[in-house]
């Protein structure tokens, strides 16, 4: 049968699964970028707080716990801030790792899908 222009590459269930997987990864990638931005901001805030703490000469610091500001001795505040710093930087690291892994998977899928469909498919951000 003559192919009169326009690609007639058949889309198999495997291809559909790959396309869907790419879509999922892309969505997760954007979510991760937002989460990373928020985590970085939180990190900066904790940095600033920690610096302020060093500068202050008060013995009791008003530290926010929940919705209230509790009067907490400076040492305890230092410990709490350190713990928060650790948690946030660990979280940030995990997010960055996930982002790398997703980018790698997306590159793989792009190779496969462009390889089969060439121009009939567009996987770029507009």
């Amino acid at each position: 049968m003559q192919r009169a222009g326009g690609s007639e590459t058949e889309v198999t269930w495997e291809d559909q699964k790959n396309i869907n997987k790419f879509g999922r990864l892309n969505n997760r990638f954007h979510e991760l970028e937002d989460e990373i931005k928020i985590a970085k901001e939180a990190n900066e805030n904790i940095e600033d707080a920690s610096n302020e703490l060093i500068l202050t000469d008060e013995e009791v610091v008003r530290f926010q716990i929940g919705e209230v500001f509790a009067h907490v001795p400076k040492d305890e505040v230092e410990m709490r801030i350190e713990k928060m710093q650790e948690e946030t930087s660990k979280r940030l690291e995990k997010l960055e790792e996930e982002k790398e892994s997703i980018l790698a998977q997306m590159a793989e899928l792009k190779k496969i899908l462009y390889g089969k469909f060439k121009d009939s498919i567009n996987l770029e951000e507009d």
Partner: protein, 192 residues
């Protein structure tokens, strides 16, 4: 969502539906699909478009639920933090806190020997609990919220897959139609 029943799956391992969301059946052969549906190309295309709209409506609802849960979880964590702090501070000296009375106005409170806290349960109901019970309750709520969020995220992923599949099907039906017209034109110009 009331809608015409979708044609049978052509040999795929996908689920037929998930929590009330019907799956988009994968089309192996466009011509066979059109014959199964018994509709012409334009009706098929509008049927598929309608499906996508329905999916989008459900997506909006799920996204709103997701946002609510994502806001609720840090709130519960903050409450747990407060209860833990109250429990830890069991010495004789009162815990001094500054809390917001109104926007921009704070008042100082002395909290002595807090063995119990009151938890807001919603619907204008507040109950008093011992610190341990409160921690247990809040932990449970936190775990439930996290579990619900996970299920919700999986639902959203499933939904997006169905939208993708339907969009690809629309493209293929359209391409098939274009191809058919070209073939018909080519054969009719050959005859003349």
């Amino acid at each position: 969502m009331a809608q015409p029943s979708s044609p049978p799956q052509s040999g795929s391992e996908a689920v037929a539906e998930r929590r009330g969301i019907p799956a988009a059946s994968f089309v192996k052969d466009v011509e066979a699909y059109l014959n199964q549906l018994g509709l012409d190309v334009n009706s098929t295309l509008s049927f598929l478009q309608e499906r996508i709209q329905q999916y989008k409506v459900v997506e909006m609802k799920l996204l709103a639920q997701q946002r609510d849960l994502q806001a609720k979880i840090p709130d519960i964590e903050k409450c747990l933090d407060v209860v833990a702090t109250l429990q830890a501070k069991n010495s004789d000296e009162a815990l001094l806190t500054d809390f917001e009375v109104s926007e921009g106005i704070y008042a100082r409170a002395q909290i002595k020997n807090a063995d119990s806290v009151c938890l807001w349960l919603g619907a204008n109901v507040m109950l008093e609990y011992s610190c341990e019970e409160a921690t247990t309750l809040l932990q449970n709520n936190l775990e439930n919220a996290k579990a619900s969020l996970e299920v919700l995220v999986a639902d959203l992923q499933f939904l997006r897959d169905q939208v993708n599949t339907t969009q690809v099907t629309i493209a293929r039906v359209y391409n098939w139609d274009v191809h058919q017209r070209r073939v018909k034109q080519a054969s009719s110009s050959q005859e003349s």
